[in-house]
């Protein structure tokens, strides 16, 4: 025993201290922290998602208009790839060997161990060829999934498109969407995404370190089966939808047709349109850029996003509100000298009719008559109370849906413009009166509305006092559920008795020899309507027609806008008549005036493209800038041409015909 013996304890002590350090760290990673446990789970556990079929969409006659189509992708897991015959693969896929190398490199850059896309949507022929030689390409496999298919190639803007989710979508969904999922980005695909997408299935699989599946977790106890998306029954009638798109060929504009008793939208045409099949699958990017580059902007959903002055088609509403207010009665007459003198400014009329009553005023679309009506309404409580009276009038008109969203089941609906009294206070202080806003009397100036709003006004008149919110889906799923808000009647605040004289005026507009839409009379059907000619500072006036039919127990209300179409009676009214006739009788009889669908379809009314880069005009969106008393000249056009896309000066479409008369050019 020497003194050095004590050093034994130092060494033994060191052993124990080190052992405690090891145990301390072990205690931390095994007992205290669950980070490692969770990492272990994520190491081995993969959720394999099973994608359900997206819901189909049918038209009101149960014809399939949106369905799914299988496509095949070639996937590759770079770590499992062995040297292979690149030429054989290139030939099977009909691409070059260089492309094969490039794609493989790209896949490797994404992930070495995960399966990534090698080639998307390979053709059926390539798929068949590959199946035979697949064994020669370890690490490659084909994967089938479904994409949307639109058998009729119509109503592109209506259906919208489905696309891979963006990081933004993933974040907003709070974990529902995963990278690679698909989501409805616009149109019905977007607004009914929750129903259409169905429920994803999940299979919990165990994977080893080489990413090879080792079987399911807990014998599939936590797995979920995929549930297909709900089938949607649309309110569209595919026959008139197709007819509407045909008629609107080579024109800019919109058609909305509504079944008045239900608010169901029968036709929803936005022109120029596009084939929805373009925005499916791998050519999405190219085709979408193509749409964006089109100067006529087919991506705009004009029925809800195009904002037009309602023009003369606003007059029936004017009349009804005046009647309800007692500002006029059906027999009130005014004298039309061909213009209306509003302060220092004249509102022109298209004709000199002398003394006329309301019914004829509507049928003849007399500006003078309705300026007087407006004057009567606004001044009925005295000249000093015009502001309050205007505010009251505004509220009455707003009940019809002007200046607000109607709540259609489509995203991105626009409100249109319809100003409160405050707006004019801001510009003019206290010094404004009916003459300041007189252009609203004839649906011009500071009032714009969407084609949907106009059609809805017709539905409300057809129903004699109420409308149901217009909607595109009349049944969700097998139980055919309809959203509750679409079953409620919205009253416009006009007593039923006032409708008859106005409706008679609208009947005369189409069916009397003096009517503005007399060329559009439908044999054996009493269509009521109102033409509108919307003044357009950028070019030829827009042709507008709104109407409903038949006069008693109406089945269809319609609004048609043909940009640069001139008079309401020249294009919008005949187009409406074809659609109404087709819907009510399922046929179109030859017309005495020789109008045919073919002739209208072939007429090109596309405006010449004006290069705005030469002299940029500020687009006045801010109402404050509208200083002038008469703001008619400040109309906006839905066709705002973007300077960036337009390179050439005035590239006139080849078949552009200038229609001088109110008759379309008939091609024999």
């Amino acid at each position: 025993m020497d003194q050095l013996f004590n050093r034994k304890y130092i060494i033994q002590g060191l052993f124990i201290v080190i052992a405690l350090i090891l145990l301390g760290k072990l205690f931390y990673i095994q007992v205290v922290s669950d980070k490692y446990f969770l990492s272990a789970e994520s190491n081995v556990l993969r959720k394999i998602y099973k994608y359900p079929a997206r819901g189909a969409i049918l038209d009101r006659n149960m014809k399939v208009i949106v369905q799914n189509e299988p496509v095949y992708d070639l996937m590759v897991t770079p770590s499992e790839v062995k040297p292979f015959d690149t030429l054989a693969l290139a030939q099977a896929l009909e691409i070059s060997v260089a492309d094969v190398r490039k794609k493989l490199k790209k896949a490797k850059a994404q992930s070495a161990y995960q399966a990534t896309f090698f080639d998307r949507q390979i053709s059926v022929q390539s798929y068949a060829r590959l199946q035979e030689i697949m064994y020669r390409f370890p690490g490659f496999r084909t994967q089938d999934r479904t994409i949307r298919h639109y058998p009729d190639s119509i109503a592109g803007q209506l259906f919208g498109y489905v696309k891979e989710v963006s990081p933004d979508d993933i974040e907003k969904s709070e974990g529902y969407y995963k990278p690679g999922d698909f989501i409805g980005k616009s149109g019905l695909e977007r607004s009914y995404e929750d129903f259409l997408r169905g429920e994803k299935g999940v299979i919990n699989m165990l994977y080893d370190a080489k990413n090879i599946a080792q079987g399911s977790y807990s014998a599939g106890k936590y797995d979920i089966n995929a549930v297909s998306g709900d089938r949607l029954i649309s309110s569209l009638d595919i026959r008139i939808q197709r007819l509407g798109e045909e008629l609107m060929k080579n024109k800019v504009g919109a058609i909305v047709a509504i079944e008045p008793s239900t608010g169901e939208i029968l036709a929803f045409v936005s022109s120029p349109g596009y084939d929805p099949n373009q925005l499916v699958g791998k050519d999405w990017g190219k085709n979408y850029m193509g749409l964006l580059a089109n100067p006529y902007r087919p991506q705009i959903v004009r029925p809800i996003a195009g904002q037009y002055s309602p023009g003369s088609s606003f007059k029936p509403v004017d009349a009804l509100v005046a009647l309800q207010d007692g500002a006029i009665d059906p027999n009130t007459t005014f004298t039309c000298p061909g213009y209306y003198q509003a302060g220092n400014h004249k509102v022109k009329c298209e004709h000199i009719d002398g003394t006329i009553n309301m019914q004829r005023g509507i049928a003849r679309s007399c500006n003078t008559y309705f300026c007087h009506v407006f004057q009567n309404i606004i001044t009925k409580n005295g000249m000093k109370n015009q502001r309050q009276t205007y505010a009251h009038w505004h509220d009455q008109i707003a009940k019809w849906g002007f200046g607000q969203k109607l709540g259609i089941d489509m995203p991105f609906e626009k409100k249109g413009i319809f100003y409160q009294a405050d707006h004019y206070d801001k510009i003019y202080g206290k010094r404004w009166g009916y003459t300041t806003v007189i252009s609203q009397a004839i649906g011009q100036g500071e009032i714009t509305s969407t084609p949907l709003q106009m059609a809805n006004v017709m539905a409300a008149i057809a129903n004699r006092g109420y409308y149901l919110k217009p909607h595109l889906i009349k049944g969700i799923g097998d139980k055919k559920v309809v959203k509750k808000e679409y079953l409620e009647k919205n009253y416009v605040g006009i007593d039923e008795k006032y409708f008859q004289p106005v409706i008679e005026g609208m009947r005369d507009a189409v069916n009397s020899p003096w009517g503005t839409a007399k060329e559009s009379r439908i044999p054996n059907i009493l269509m009521c309507g109102k033409t509108g000619t919307v003044q357009n500072p950028h070019g030829k006036n827009h042709s507008v027609f709104i109407g409903f039919a038949p006069m008693d127990n109406p089945k269809i209300a319609i609004a048609v806008i043909v940009e640069n179409g001139g008079f309401g009676g020249s294009y919008a009214a005949p187009i409406s008549s074809f659609i109404v006739e087709k819907y009510l009788t399922d046929s179109i009889k030859p017309k005495a005036n020789g109008y045919t669908v073919k002739a209208f379809a072939e007429t090109n009314l596309l405006p010449a493209i004006i290069d705005k880069t030469k002299k940029p005009k500020p687009v006045k969106t801010d109402s404050i800038s509208v200083k002038k008393l008469d703001s008619i000249k400040k109309l906006k056009d839905s066709l705002k041409l973007r300077s960036a896309t337009i390179k050439t000066v005035s590239t006139k479409p080849k078949e552009l015909k200038t229609v001088l008369t109110d008759k379309p050019v008939i091609q024999k």
Binding site: K8, I16, L22, I29, S39, N43, L206, A209
Partner: protein
């Protein structure tokens, strides 16, 4: 006496140590079995890792017991030859060795592979014990320290040439037996200081370290301002420490291989690389951490079964223990080791001969280094250094060399009443 003569060979053997030895081998076998992918463990097969390990364990046991048949004096007498033999093997491996993963550490004899570095440990331990036992140096003079350093340094340098840094590091364990025999504690402190400075140099800017060292030294000198000798040695130590700091920078870049540098940086948390160099450590920690308190159960470890931890049956076998047996299992294994180590020290202290005591200390400290470095590496407190976990990791060379190391000591211990 007749009875004692009858099992003379096994007389006085410390069977408790033998039991711990067998227990650790069993732990090794069970966990190697668990580390083999499930479909391959269905039928018992001697071509699998666990099959081979069973052979190694059984032959190891035979080897151990046959060592007990020798006369203990043999090891003392032949220690220079054994040491010389292992040195020759270490040189041979540099010439005829098989290169595996960059290290020239194996000599293949038919299908049998020998790792000389493993056997160099007991060769060195024997010669060091012989030197201390014969000359009884107290390591107060330069000569004795130099001789001890030569005995330990020769195999260490040869192993570094392979290069097998992990195995070479283990030779530092011989510092402890020398300390026990009289080497100044300052050597251990300097060694500790070097490690601390090495790590600190990565975490703190060098100039701050220099400031701290100078400040501490200044304070120390101020407190001992009347003792010239202390002032002199403090200044010397300070200058050496600062010189060392700069040396580290150079040595780190020039001497260490890139993979060693990245292992050190990973351990110090200076970089993360979960797919590359850090993969082993991360996966090993995940496996061990996922065992939680009681573990997932035998053959239930998903990380183990599905091969997430590389080198799982050899250097990273502890991750299997951690995952399948949890904190409790880990504690039992560590307790077994500590019990073995403390017992070996106690056994060493009861030897009458210095030779046996030094050898016993060497055995305990070599085992200790292996256990500490290996487990420390699997749980991320030590950079990845590829040395096996004694008696548990898969591998014949390692198992046999530990068996020889241990059983020689047990033989010496059973002869402790003898004549040395």
């Amino acid at each position: 006496m007749q009875q004692q003569q009858g099992n003379r060979f096994f007389f006085n053997v410390d069977w408790i140590t033998v039991l711990i030895y067998i227990a650790l081998c069993a732990v090794g076998f069970i966990n190697i079995f668990a580390s083999v992918p499930p479909e391959k463990s269905a039928i018992f097969n001697f071509n699998t890792l666990y099959g081979k390990q069973l052979i190694y364990v059984l032959t190891g046991l035979v080897l151990g017991l046959s060592i007990l048949l020798f006369d203990g004096r043999v090891f003392n007498v032949f220690s220079p030859f054994i040491y010389g033999g292992t040195l020759l093997l270490l040189m041979a491996v540099l010439v005829i060795g098989n290169k595996v993963a960059g290290n020239q550490a194996w000599i293949a004899i038919g299908s049998f592979k020998l790792q000389p570095a493993e056997f160099a440990k007991f060769g060195t331990a024997l010669l060091l014990a012989r030197y201390v036992g014969s000359f009884n140096p107290k390591f107060r003079d330069f000569k004795s320290i130099a001789i001890a350093a030569l005995i330990v340094g020769a195999p260490l340098v040869l192993i570094m040439l392979q290069p097998d840094t992990g195995s070479a590091l283990v030779f530092l364990a011989f510092m402890f037996p020398l300390y026990r025999e009289g080497l100044s504690g300052y050597f251990l402190l300097i060694f500790l200081g070097m490690i601390v400075l090495f790590i600190a140099d990565f975490l703190v800017p060098t100039y701050i370290l220099i400031l701290i060292i100078t400040a501490v030294a200044g304070l120390f000198i101020y407190n001992n301002r009347r003792k010239q000798k202390i002032i002199f040695s403090t200044v010397l130590v300070t200058v050496l420490a600062i010189g060392y700091l700069f040396l580290i920078k150079v040595a780190y870049e020039k001497v260490l291989a890139p993979h060693q540098r990245s292992r050190i940086e990973l351990m110090l948390g200076l970089k993360t690389d979960n797919r590359g160099a850090g993969y082993n450590v991360i996966q090993s920690q995940i496996a061990i951490g996922s065992g939680q308190v009681t573990g997932r159960g035998f053959l239930e470890g998903t990380q183990t079964k599905y091969g997430y931890v590389p080198e799982q049956s050899t250097d990273f076998i502890f991750s299997t223990i951690g995952e399948e047996w949890g904190f409790l299992g880990c504690s039992v294994v560590i307790a077994l080791y500590i019990f073995l180590l403390l017992r070996l020290i106690n056994l060493a202290e009861r030897q009458r001969s210095t030779f046996s005591r030094v050898y016993g200390y060497s055995v305990a400290c070599i085992l200790f280094f292996h256990v500490f470095i290996n487990i420390g590496m699997t749980i991320g407190i030590i950079p990845v250094i590829g040395i096996p976990l004694p008696l548990i990791s898969y591998g014949g060379s390692s198992l046999w060399s530990f068996t020889i190391l241990l059983f020689i000591f047990l033989k010496l211990d059973s002869n402790r009443m003898g004549f040395f």
